[in-house]
Amino acid sequence: MLSIKNLHASVEGKEILKGINLEIKAGEVHAIMGPNGSGKSTLSQVLAGNEAFEITEGEITLNGENLLELETEERAREGIFLAFQYPVEIPGVSNLQFLRTAVNAMRHHKGEAEMNAAEFMKLAKEVSKQVDLDPAFLKRGVNEGFSGGEKKRNEIMQALLLQPKLAILDETDSGLDIDALQVVSNGVNALRAEDRAILMVTHYQRLLNHIVPDHVHVLAGGKIVKSGGRELALELEERGYGWLGIKDEEEAAANSAN
């Protein structure tokens, strides 16, 4: 489904991704782990088409289609969804209006009829219950004053509403309490499907107890330095990144400066 070849990306002249190769098949769940600042969010944002990052080399295809030629919104309509590590607020725009606009943009793209306010309200209420978010949140401004955990659940709710082909979840488990982690994991598991791929960025192997990945990758210094199965996460937890010969961020930066 998703194929990334020798991807290099930089921001403000600084290279962050230094040759990423990754193949994800439909129905698979991949987990990406790695130290802070290693480029996990950058990879997620680049896949979604954030223009702040410059692609200097490499290619990304989704079901054979060249993603790099598509605008952010076109990629979204092709089925790429990104759950943000830091969801941004849009004051005054109700979550309900935002979500309906998004769902209708997708439907429009597929040539389906738009959903009216009443139909959408019904759907949105159901989905909000699925992530244990009070339907009152639908009336509030997008992420406006949401707690960290509420924002994350709101992201998963959006994934459930938009039913993407590839869901990229950037640290959707961070900052969640134990119950919320369960709720979010259930939401992600509900997303698992034959025709859908999931790429999740996480720091915690405990998430992988709830959502069992098919593959685990370690991203360090802008490259995937190791790939394996579920057991790789456990090993990392036990032995730390040092085990893979990965230096911490400062050290790496100091080295690259030399």
Partner: protein, 482 residues
């Protein structure tokens, strides 16, 4: 991500939807202004002597006045002798008594503007006093209003039929000498609306006037007077669009509101006059004086405006809070793009005890436009326990536009309380990226974000106006992010 400047510009460029000129023969004065012109104007309108005297007094006063230059706007000098001061639809001898008699060309114009009178009559229960150029040509819903005792007619009619009311209140809120443009208006006002709501009456429907500037080179000088007698309530809607043309057109209206004891007036405006093209050519000069006087105790006047049009706007709907416990409100959305310039705000003059006022101003600037909020909150010595709350928010789209805030506070009473909040924000790249990541078009995203920014004001508008306002912002913005 960052939608590029180029995209922004393209989105902003969207052409003015209402740009067309109605082909109606107009009976128009040759350009120029002097006492004879005023006498002729007054004569055509069959005005009583006192009215002509009033106009001439205003004219003499105006001649001694200087055009204000303190507003944060710039525009070429206006030659007041190059303006024609009267224009009327051809068949003035024989004014239509019903819609059937109205020139079909004219009705078509209204239809293009999305105001089919036929429909409106049946539908919204809105009485429409339509002003086409200078003379009212169609008025609907007079009957149910008459039953309630509400007078809703053109100001010309009111001068003839209700001279006591007009003489008592015309100029009582905005006197001749108030400012340059109000002085000019007083001398040459063409027509406008008159409303009187009697004691204890809640006006049975929203009253509404649509304005349209048409005949080339004709200044528009509307005059509106609304009086809410003791314990009455009225909501008035004003909306306007203008056809596209090249010359700048001057519009200098005066609106006076008078609220007696326990009366309430709600005045809402959606203004979408031709703003000029993307190079700043053409467009309406909108120099309006709008003021309400809460002369009675416990009275309330509330201004809500959505301003998206005009090349240059100079407008400060204000409240004079004379009655004890009276309340003034100002809710404003002003959007500028391309080369538009707006200098708008309000004045809240607290004179009575325990008077209170609220100002919510939302300025949105895009393109190379300039958008200024200018507000004065003044407490007189008798304003014991008075208070004001001001919130002034600016939203910038792109990085070539400007927002300015000029809040002035004058207090002669120590017990008065003022709260002022101001913010400036940008439509951020992160917000745009979030919207686009969810499949939403950039221009739709901007419009959604801007609408969200304006929510507090939109909710003050009557329902049908709120929808129109949202649409208007979308049209005026169509893209625009930096």
């Amino acid at each position: 991500m960052a939608t590029t400047d180029q995209e922004v510009n393209e989105l902003i460029k969207r052409e003015y939807e209402h740009g067309f000129v109605t082909d109606i023969e107009s009976d128009t004065f040759e350009p120029g202004l002097n006492e004879d012109v005023i006498a002729r104007l007054s004569g055509i309108k069959k005005e009583p002597e006192w009215m002509l005297a009033w106009r001439l007094k205003a004219y003499r006063r105006w001649q001694e006045m200087d055009e204000p230059n303190w507003a944060h706007v710039g525009y070429p000098k206006i030659d007041y002798n190059s303006i024609s001061y009267y224009s009327a639809p051809k068949r003035k001898e024989d004014m239509p008594q019903s819609l059937d008699e109205v020139d079909p060309e004219l009705l078509k114009t209204y239809e293009k503007l999305g105001i089919p009178l036929h429909e409106r009559e049946k539908l919204a229960g809105v009485a429409v006093d339509a002003v086409f150029d200078s003379v009212s040509v169609a008025t609907t819903f007079k009957e149910p209003l008459a039953k309630a005792g509400v007078i809703f007619c053109s100001i010309s009619e009111a001068i003839r039929d209700y001279p006591e009311l007009v003489q008592k209140y015309l100029g009582s809120v905005v006197p001749h000498g108030d400012n340059f443009f109000a002085g000019l208006n007083s001398a040459v006002f063409s027509d406008g609306t008159f409303v009187y709501v009697p004691k204890g009456v809640r006006c049975p429907m929203e009253l509404s006037t649509y304005f349209r500037i048409n005949a080339a080179n004709t200044g528009q000088f509307e005059r509106t007077l609304i009086i809410a007698d003791e314990g009455s309530y009225v909501s008035y809607l004003e909306g306007c669009t203008a056809p596209m043309r090249d010359e700048n057109q001057l519009h200098a209206a005066v609106v006076e509101l008078v609220a007696l004891d326990d009366a309430q007036i709600k005045y809402s405006t959606v203004q979408n006059w031709y703003p000029g093209d993307e190079n700043g050519k053409g467009g309406i000069f909108n120099f309006v004086t709008k003021r309400g006087a809460c002369i009675g105790k416990n009275s309330k006047i509330s201004w809500t405006q959505v301003e998206t049009g005009s090349a240059v706007t100079w407008k400060y709907p204000s409240c004079v809070l004379r009655g004890d416990n009276s309340v003034g409100e100002f809710y404003s959305v002003a959007l500028t793009h391309n080369h538009q310039q707006a200098d708008t705000g309000t004045k809240m003059i607290h004179l009575g005890k325990n008077t209170s006022s609220t100002i919510i101003s939302k300025g949105i600037s895009a393109g190379k436009s300039s958008n200024a909020y200018r507000g004065l909150v003044k407490f007189g010595p008798g304003a014991e326990g008075a208070r004001n709350f001001t919130q002034c928010d600016s939203l910038l789209i792109g990085d070539r536009c400007g927002a300015h805030t000029f809040p002035y506070i004058e207090s002669k009473n120590k017990s008065a309380i003022v709260e002022h909040e101001a913010t400036t924000s940008k439509v951020s790249d992160e917000q745009m990226f979030l919207c686009r990541q969810r499949g939403i078009d950039p221009e739709q995203a901007v419009s959604m974000i801007v609408n969200g920014f304006c929510k507090e004001v939109f909710k003050e508008l009557p329902m049908e106006f709120a929808v129109e306002a949202g649409k208007l912002l979308e049209v005026s913005l169509e893209g625009s992010v930096g």
